[in-house]
């Protein structure tokens, strides 16, 4: 067994107050101690972060890393399959490109764990996965991606037509859920091809897999989806959530977590009218569990902490914003038993920065995943 110790002036565990002049012990890649410094055996490897700032590794709860590889063209891009509007059978694990240089870059930005999955072209897009940026897959079936939007018909010749209105999109989802429920109750006969899809949707309806629902256009879309989530009692996060500030009360009351962003997104479309970087601040102040996404490659994943800084600029406290890229996404992705804070028993995913990592001018000096140094400045 190899033991390592990280010394630092300031340790932000994410679970309690700062530990000043503290120490983290790492055994077999897991954290075995966090607290004041104590005497160690001579066989312990020391990582002395000196005056630097230690935090948990950052977590991006919504991205397409490895599915739209950086610097490569469409031949390597596998994020939206226009087979039809309902494609739960698509799995990120079948397409992910772990040689995507973006993983290495993400690590240099302190990002240690990410969700990556299918895009928003389809109403049901497929299954996303959770992985460490070092390549260790944490969960192959992490969430089923669903998406609303103003117009999904891209003119592709698919087996089934795409809905062209919000009514049509919601109706399609509702119809799907009703049919899958009927099938689960043996009230509906379906062919084998449908069965392949229904088995996956059934996992969501049974609460075995969360839904990840893309909402980017309007508060009314959010309202419609909150009703749907309630009707079918689904475990879900709602993602992007532009316009969410106008519906903060309803989101808080429903208790549905939000993955906002990406902050700083270009308002390129008229459909982005409700983009507003105060949304995560408004929602957090109402008690909503909020995480920040890069939506990589929309913003390169390495800049996750920069996007959290943008949220600070919009009025949130540094440490609350830091939670939005550590423990909050861990909870939303249901991996908080392993990552998200620096607590005993959790993975030793650690970022060492020259100052608070959300200060734009602070430098990331070292990154550890499972106790191994994976980046040094």
């Amino acid at each position: 067994m190899r033991i390592k110790a990280v010394f630092a002036k300031k340790i932000w565990t994410g679970a309690s107050e700062f530990v000043e002049d503290g120490m983290i012990l790492i055994e077999d890649g897991k954290i075995s101690y966090v607290g004041p410094r104590k005497s160690l055996g001579s066989d312990v490897g020391i990582i002395d972060a000196k005056d630097s700032f230690v935090t948990p590794g950052f977590i991006d709860a919504h991205s397409h890393i490895g599915l739209i590889p950086e610097g490569l063209d469409w031949e390597y891009s596998d994020v939206n399959d226009y087979t039809g509007p309902i494609t739960p059978q698509m799995r990120a694990i079948d397409a992910i490109h772990f040689h995507d240089i973006a993983f290495k870059n993400a690590i240099s930005g302190g990002v240690t764990t990410v969700y990556t999955g299918p895009g928003s072209a389809n109403v049901v897009g497929g299954i996303g996965l959770i992985t460490k940026t070092s390549g260790e897959i944490i969960r192959e079936e992490a969430a089923l991606k669903m998406a609303l939007g103003p117009k999904r018909d891209r003119g592709v010749k698919s087996k089934e037509p795409y809905p062209t209105t919000r009514m049509g999109t919601v109706a399609l989802l509702r119809n799907l859920f009703i049919n899958v429920k009927k099938w689960m109750n043996r009230e509906l006969e379906i062919d084998d091809e449908k069965k392949y899809q229904y088995e996956i949707v059934a996992k969501v309806l049974k609460g075995e897999m969360p839904a990840k629902i893309h909402l980017s256009t309007s508060p009314d879309e959010i309202r419609a989806v909150l009703a749907l989530i309630k009707e079918f009692n689904i475990n879900a996060s709602i993602d992007h959530v532009f316009g969410g500030d106008l519906l903060a009360g309803e989101i808080a009351e429903a208790g549905i977590p939000v993955v906002y962003g990406p902050p700083m997104i270009a308002k390129l479309y008229s459909a982005f009218k409700y983009v507003n970087d105060k949304i995560p601040v408004v929602l957090a102040n109402r008690g909503v569990l909020v995480a920040i996404m890069t939506d990589h490659p929309v913003i390169p994943q390495k800049h996750l902490r920069f996007l959290a800084s943008v949220v600070v600029r919009n009025g949130l406290d540094y440490n609350e914003a830091l939670k939005m890229i550590t423990i909050n996404p861990a909870k939303i992705l249901e991996i908080d038993e392993r990552v998200g804070t620096l607590e005993v028993g959790k993975d030793a995913d650690i970022v060492i920065s020259s100052d608070h990592p959300l200060k734009v001018t602070s430098v990331i000096e070292r990154v550890l995943i499972n106790g191994e140094i994976v980046f040094e400045h």
Partner: protein
Amino acid sequence: MIIKGGILLTPFEQILNPVITIKNGKIVDIEISDDVCHDGEKIIDAKGKYIVPGFIDPHTHIGIHRLEGEGGDPGVEIFDVLTPHLDVVDGLDLFDPAFNDALSGGITTFGVLPGAYMSFGPSVERINIIAGQGAIYKANKREIKRRAFLKIALGEHPKRFLAEKKLTPTTRMGIMAELRNIFTRAKEYSTKKDKKYDPKLEALMAVIKKEIPIRVHVHTVRDILAILRFAKEFDLEVILDHATEAYILKEELKDIPIVYGPIVFSKRGTELANLDSSNLKFMKNLQFTLTTDHPTIPIQYLDLLAGLAVNEGFSLREALALITIKAARILGIDDRVGSVEPGKDADLVVLSGKPFEPDTQVIYTIVDGEICYHRGD
């Protein structure tokens, strides 16, 4: 008006407890004192705060690319690939909320370019080889210079746009051939006595006479080298915009002005493979400035991008220069803006704290000696 107290930070100096006197929109005097009588004048007390020159972004699409709801204008003619006779001011929307966003972020002057660069998927990327003539504006909507430069674009974007529109040319060779053709005709036109009026060639006269520069959208080494050869051949003033791979060409570019970035941006396609904010650390000896390319990055976050330069080894003042005096020089207006000196326009920003940090807020933005933005407590 008088601004008194705090710390005056400019690219050239740092002054404690300054007294800055402003008359008729100009800075008339900077004293160091903590006890000066100012009978009957408006006084801004900057005690405990930072005073910096108004920020400048040489490359935006403010007013020409508004897509909030109706009124969107891509700023690009789509049925012609060479449109030097277009003047961005003819399409400028002075009610674009981005003017106010700029003020709220301390940006007081910006370049406005036709030919917006759009980031989400090939179907909306539109760009011409020659898009038209740009202007320089203040955030208080006053025009500094009309027909200030000619916007040209090379590389993937015009290629893809033209191919989609079933227009030619569709290769880099073809794009340069088009440029060579029209500039050769413009040179002949400039010396011809009996000539038929040609609006396009007429528009190129100021460029041929080196009265205004060409500003060229480039990313890769090959496009940068192509336009340098071209500028030499036709004896043109050239400014490189975006210039992603400029950091590789330190020798060739040491005298060429560069508007770099945006340094945090989606890296889709092969052309942006080498985009990274860490490139800045190789660019210390280049004549460059930073940009948001608004709406690509919302204009109000310009200072946070400069903060990333500090992250890459630039001092606070060097980073400040990137979005003040260096930007003014590139736009050719450093006699008026970009620093705090007697005789210059009174474009000043009062910040709640140290520049570039996310929790630092703009308290006052002063343009031409008038308070255009004030953040209440």
